[in-house]
């Protein structure tokens, strides 16, 4: 039977798209790689997902799972004739266990919606990626998302107790579960961050935490980026772990003020947005110590959010900051790299030097507490070739890797960086990863061309070709 007919019989005709115009709107995510799928199907239950996977398999067609499509690394961009399986109709919160502090959710549940549902119970799901008002739990799991509060709470992998997943042959299997420390192989950490290359998660048991008694949010204002970075280093070095610690530079502040009327102090060269959580007494003590360290490194002002509204306004500005940068230049390339915290001031200097050399305005707004850099190159794609932007981004990545850092903190590898994997992993390492993947997906039908280098599926994407050249050319 024709695949489209079979998919329609599983999910209903209105939930299968195949017109070229319809497929076009699935060619993108929030990054720069573009490729349209051969069809899109939107199942409503795990059984439907399983039937869809079997149908695609029978037809010899690969599969790309997709949540809200807010990723930045092309993880949900379908290449090699793949169909997209969207999780956007799997959006039920099935259970909230307030005593055992866990939730059972479907993958299409939006991160922020889960947060809103948990708040009345005094609970929260800690990972808070900046995309949380649209991004889904499934996507968060696929990319092992972080967010500002990953500093204190860790990434998604620390908050998933178990998953139900449709395997590449259509089998529905469960891994982990509500209870901690199950015997046998713990495959959950392998699945989290696998970017849809092992199967399609159809349910997840999530760890919930009690909302803190007290939250204290403030800004420390610095004359420049270097002093702010040294202060951040001193805070972490002093044994203090705030709930979140973000750096914003002046370019970013200007954009945020324009977009959200955020009243950020543009007279500062950089600021640290710091949040501490816990018992009132504990917070007070931490704040005093952090403020002292900031002033010692040259902070010339501290501004505290005095109401919940002020705090929300700061976080809204921070979390929507990356798209707000489009108000300065219409396009921006958001880099994601992790560097050892001690190298931060030096790396930031070199990154800014690269932007200067290429003539791009750069905006820095990132999770400085855990060394997760997000330098954003601002440009206008109508007049400035993407190839040059990608080259500058590769140079930035190189600087991070040379400093002992990593390719990605939270955005994933996708089709954006798979060729750069050879910069940080030995052939033996990559081969071991391939074997692990092969154990669940021996035929490579799940999200082909992603994460691991040397695959052909996404080779035709123009941006992908450019990046392969950069990865190979700069590897010396």
């Amino acid at each position: 039977m024709d695949l489209l007919v079979r998919l329609a019989s599983i999910c209903g005709r209105e939930n299968v798209l195949s017109d070229p115009e319809d497929l076009l709107v699935f060619e993108y995510d929030a990054g720069f790689d573009r490729s349209a799928p051969s069809a899109v199907v939107v199942p409503a239950t795990a059984d439907e997902v399983s039937a869809v996977v079997r149908a695609a398999r029978d037809a010899g067609v690969p599969i790309v799972p997709r949540g809200a499509g807010t990723g930045l690394a092309g993880g949900t961009v379908a290449c090699g004739g793949a169909i997209v399986v969207s999780t956007s109709r799997l959006r039920n919160i099935l259970e909230i266990d307030t005593v055992g502090r866990s939730a059972l959710v479907e993958p299409g549940v939006v991160n922020a919606d889960l947060g809103a549902a948990l708040r009345p119970h005094g609970l929260f799901f800690a990972p808070d990626p900046s995309s949380q008002r649209a991004s889904t739990i499934g996507g968060n799991i696929g990319n092992n998302a972080g967010g500002p509060h990953a500093l204190r709470y860790g990434s998604v992998v620390d908050h998933v107790l178990g998953v139900e997943m449709v395997l590449p042959d259509g089998t529905i299997a469960a891994f982990g579960g509500r209870a901690p420390d199950l015997p046998g192989y713990d495959l959950v950490p392998l699945i989290v961050g696998s970017e849809g290359t092992l199967g399609i998660v159809t349910k997840a048991w999530l760890r919930l935490l009690p909302l803190p008694e007290h939250v204290h949010t403030f800004l420390a204002l610095f004359p420049d980026v270097g002093t702010g970075a040294r202060a951040a280093s001193a805070i972490i070095g002093g044994g203090i772990v705030p709930a979140a610690m973000e750096m914003l530079d002046r370019t970013t502040m200007r954009a945020l003020n324009a977009a959200f009327d955020a009243h950020l102090p543009e007279e500062a060269g950089s600021l640290l947005l710091v949040e501490v959580e816990g018992l009132v007494e504990e917070c007070r003590d931490q704040v005093t110590r952090i403020e002292t360290l900031c002033r010692a490194e040259g902070a010339f002002g501290i501004r505290t959010a005095t109401t919940a509204e002020e705090r929300d306004a700061l976080w809204k500005a921070r979390k929507l900051g990356y798209p707000a940068l489009a108000r300065i230049k219409p396009n921006n390339y958001l880099n994601d790299a992790v560097v050892p915290r001690t190298k931060l001031p030096e790396v930031l200097g070199r990154v800014n030097g690269i932007a200067d050399r290429y003539g791009y305005t750069i905006a820095n707004m990132f999770h400085i507490g855990d060394g997760n850099l997000h330098p954003v190159l601002l440009f206008d794609a109508r007049t400035e070739p993407i190839e040059r932007v990608l080259r500058a981004a590769a140079e930035i990545l190189r600087v991070a890797v040379d400093a002992g850092g990593m390719l990605s903190g939270e955005h994933g590898i996708g089709v954006e960086k798979e060729d750069f994997m050879t910069w940080v992993f030995a052939p033996e390492d990559l081969d071991a990863m391939r074997r692990a993947r092969g154990a669940l997906d021996p035929d490579g039908v799940m999200n082909p061309g992603k994460v691991l280098p040397g695959q052909k599926a996404c080779g035709d994407i123009p941006t992908s070709r450019i990046k392969r050249g950069l990865a190979e050319g700069m590897w010396v």
């Binding site: 798209l17 017109d19 070229p20 115009e21 319809d22 076009l24 709107v25 699935f26 060619e27 993108y28 995510d29 929030a30 899109v40 939107v42 809200a68 499509g69 807010t70 969207s86 956007s88 109709r89 959006r91 299409g108 939006v110 922020a112 919606d113 995309s131 008002r133 649209a134 991004s135 977009a259 959200f260 929507l320 900051g321 990356y322 798209p323 707000a324 489009a326 108000r327 219409p330 396009n331 921006n332 206008d380 794609a381 109508r382």
Partner: protein, 417 residues
Amino acid sequence: MTVPGASRFELPSDALQQCIRCGMCLEACPTYTLTGLETESPRGRIHLMDAMTHGRIGATARVSLHLDRCLGCRACEAVCPSGVPYGELIELTRAQLVRPSRRRDLLLGAIVARPRVLDVAARVGSLYERSGVRALLHATGAIRLLPPGLRRLESLYPPLARPRYRAPTPPSAPVARVALLLGCVMRVAYGDVHTSAAHVLARLGVEVVDVPDQGCCGALHAHAGDREAARGLARKAIAAFERAGVDALVVDAAGCGAYMKGYGRLLADDPAWAERARALAARVRDVTEYIASLEVPAPLGRLEARVTYQDPCHLAHAQGIRRQPRELLRRIDGLELVEMPDADMCCGSAGTYNVVQPEYADRLQRAKVDAILSTGASAVVSANPGCMLQVAAGLRARGSDLPVLHVVEVLDRAMRS
């Protein structure tokens, strides 16, 4: 790749470029949350507009379908961090798309734009209502025998038996002089809402000046794709209100207010009118915005009621006005305001949307009625005629006789007591 015949479609490159596909609009979009389909999302629609502008696809029926399903509620625009002028993009797009429903929309435009034609239509409707035929059809259940399409139109037919607008006695020493937009649908269907607005203003010392020849604001025409007609109506309205020489132009229909605040952009390329359009747009105020800006007595009268407030899209999203109507209601002694879930989610009215996209409109209407009924309120308050009609029709269909009132009607009743 260029598709033949696609080259004529064009949108301003600056506006299109502003979208970076971040997806932060998705959850704000009523049609995306209903379907989970990117094709029914703001980001998807912008991508289609972009693809048409660059000749990658033609303006096919399939593309039109997705663009027609847009409510034009502009909830996406209100949450967009990058500042994409979505309302303008969809309006310019509709002006260039040929759609099967176009003729009906143009007919509608021809009626509402012409006061005399509209009056005749209203009288026919009014006769239907006053003669008791409407009541008879409903009372006997014979209404169910009508074909679904006709039944839908019937359920949304404005309540034409309502009293016409009656200007108040002007205050003796006015603190300000304003004009009131009487408009088209509001004028024949909700004349008594205008009366309430004017009486509330008069009681607060504001003189409401009579402005003849003001006509229709043009929003319905533009939303239906007839931008040229909208520009013509805008020029006529600008000239009429200029002559009145007032401090502010007060509007009690959110859709009209939102549109008139954008007159500057609408006529930006017309050198003879650009400046005049900007100047008039700067004086447009929603009635709740205007009253909240006055020094008003506290409390604003007394009314024992438990009400819930429905944000009109073109007030909350397009004009950013959420606080003022709620504040005014809270200032009424004895009135309790209960928030409904998703108060700013579109009710499905959206101009003529409920007629041309009945399935989506019905689903949104049902969700809205559920939200309203969950509050246990004894009345629903809103600030736009389209929303009031849609919400009332939805409530009636569920057997609820909950009154649906405009903010100024509530204020009027409270201040009279």
